[in-house]
């Protein structure tokens, strides 16, 4: 319990660092990078938007990617390969905000989407739609962007002036903070279902985690007592306890936040290099309830 609280505070500090790094008026990352490459653009989240360049990258529109974005994309992919979805798990303030807000609401008011709906096809279905949409109806990169709304909240002093909102901005806010945020178990419905940045990182992580030198969430099967504390702590619903007491791990929506590691009383979950310990590197089905039995 104490470990969980400490981890929550540690992560909150990281997310504040993320806010200082990427959002105006601070935007320390952009200011440093723009100064380095002599790029004369205002420093805020839009000038670093990864949604548009990811779209351009995946659609092969290389010429539209400016050097600062190229550097950022390079760092983004390098971090995702080596450390997993580091941006989601540590730096994305827009993802963290609804998660932390939802902790203020009693669980009985929250919807547990991920036990009813498998988030993985939804997550990748959104990514696929996101890439197809520019050919059919025009890009939705900015229209449904929670990072952009986050910048509005900061510009307006959180409770002040949000600026002129479009229908798509209003829908984004409703989904991000209200329906898939405060009233969703874990508070990360938006991250789970409708974030292309998260989906791309997950895709990279699911492949790179098979390499020995990369960091990943590791599992020591022999230590696990199937208590389910990690399942409860996971805001993404990546860990589930099956009826036969087995714990399953879904790497495709894990954000490597390590809340599960902090919650585990047996240190069965760790973050590091080497073998993951999950069956076939993606999911574990720990169907040996006898472990629990034998400890008793």
């Amino acid at each position: 319990m104490i470990n969980t609280q400490i981890m929550l505070i540690k992560r909150a500090i990281w997310y504040i660092v993320g806010l200082l790094l990427f959002y105006a008026p601070f935007a320390l990352y952009q200011k440093a990078l723009f100064g380095l490459v002599n790029y004369n653009k205002p420093a805020d989240i839009h000038s670093l938007c990864l949604r548009m360049p990811l779209l351009n990258l995946l659609l092969g529109k290389w010429s539209l990617i400016v050097p600062v974005v190229m550097i950022t994309l390079f760092l983004f992919f390098m971090f995702a390969i080596i450390f997993g979805p580091f941006f989601c798990g540590r730096l994305c303030f827009a993802g963290a905000l609804p998660e932390y807000l939802s902790r203020l609401i009693p669980d009985r008011f929250k919807i547990d989407w991920v036990t009813g709906i498998n988030p993985i096809p939804v997550r990748y279905g959104f990514l696929a739609g996101y890439l197809i949409t520019p050919f059919l109806a025009g890009s939705i990169a900015c229209a449904f962007c929670n990072l952009s709304f986050m910048q509005r909240l900061i510009d307006g002093g959180f409770w002040g002036e949000f600026g002129v909102l479009s229908s798509t901005n209003i829908i984004t806010f409703f989904l991000w903070i209200i329906l898939f945020g405060i009233f969703t178990k874990g508070g990360r419905g938006f991250c789970n279902f409708i974030c292309p940045i998260g989906a791309v990182q997950s895709l990279v992580y699911s492949i790179s985690s098979r390499l020995h030198f990369t960091y990943k969430l590791r599992f020591a099967k022999d230590k696990c007592i199937s208590c389910g504390a990690c399942v409860k702590a996971c805001s993404m619903g990546s860990l589930q306890k099956e009826p036969d007491n087995s714990i399953t791990y879904q790497i495709h929506n894990c954000i490597t936040c390590l809340q599960c590691q902090a919650a585990c009383p047996k240190n069965a979950l760790t973050y590091g290099t080497g073998k993951s310990g999950w069956k076939d590197g993606i999911t574990l089905v720990n169907n040996e309830p006898s472990i629990q039995e034998s400890i008793r």
Binding site: P42, P121, F126, G129, Y130, L136, I140, V164, S166, T168
Partner: protein
């Protein structure tokens, strides 16, 4: 085995369903794109720019419910006020004729939203971005012509007009009998 096939099929259906919803959201975005006005202007302009016409009746339901009276006319994130001449221009923005509160915004750090003045020159082939945000009194949204006005781009060195963007905001849901509630005061930048 049967269970596995059922699971895979369900996964595929969810994937396709979500991809479809996302594409649908693109069409929705397209259908409400007229909530915002946009313009591009090449300076110095010899004549008025094309009129920006916005119809409040075409707003999406969320916009109608939450913020029908707040309207943005902008040149987009990337620029939009482009210097196509051979000399640098010192640009000042003024608006005239609009009802209610007018706020000017630009991402350019040299822009003073109070005075509407860009303190750095706009060099040839460079661009500024600008958003003119209107807050129309809610009771005034009913007339056929809700408000009309101009976004004027002025050379701040000699006060000459170098560009003008006429804007008209209508509400086609009203019968057109009520007339324009035009305000003839010149709004010096931002109020």
């Amino acid at each position: 085995m049967k269970e596995q096939i059922k699971k895979s099929l369900l996964t595929l259906c969810l994937f396709i369903f979500m991809a479809g919803i996302t594409v649908g959201s693109g069409y929705y975005k397209k259908s409400v794109s007229s909530e915002r006005g946009s313009f591009i202007i090449a300076l110095p302009a010899k004549k008025d720019n094309q009129e920006v016409l916005l119809n409040i009746a075409e707003q999406g339901l969320p916009k109608k419910l939450i913020q029908p009276n707040r309207i943005s006319i902008s040149s987009g994130h990337g620029g939009g006020i482009i210097n196509r001449g051979n000399e640098s221009l010192w640009v000042k923005v003024q608006t005239e004729g609009f009802l209610g509160k007018v706020q000017l915004e630009s991402k350019d750090p040299s822009f003073n939203h109070e005075t509407g003045v860009f303190s750095r020159p706009l060099k040839p082939n460079q661009s500024f971005n600008l958003a003119v945000n209107l807050t129309i009194p809610k009771g005034k949204l009913k007339g056929h012509t809700v408000t009309e006005g101009n976004i004027k781009l002025i050379n701040s060195k000699d006060e000459s007009l170098i560009g003008n963007i006429p804007v008209r905001i209508i509400n086609s849901e009203t019968d057109g009998i009520e007339d324009s509630t035009k305000n003839n005061d010149t709004n010096e930048a931002c109020h």
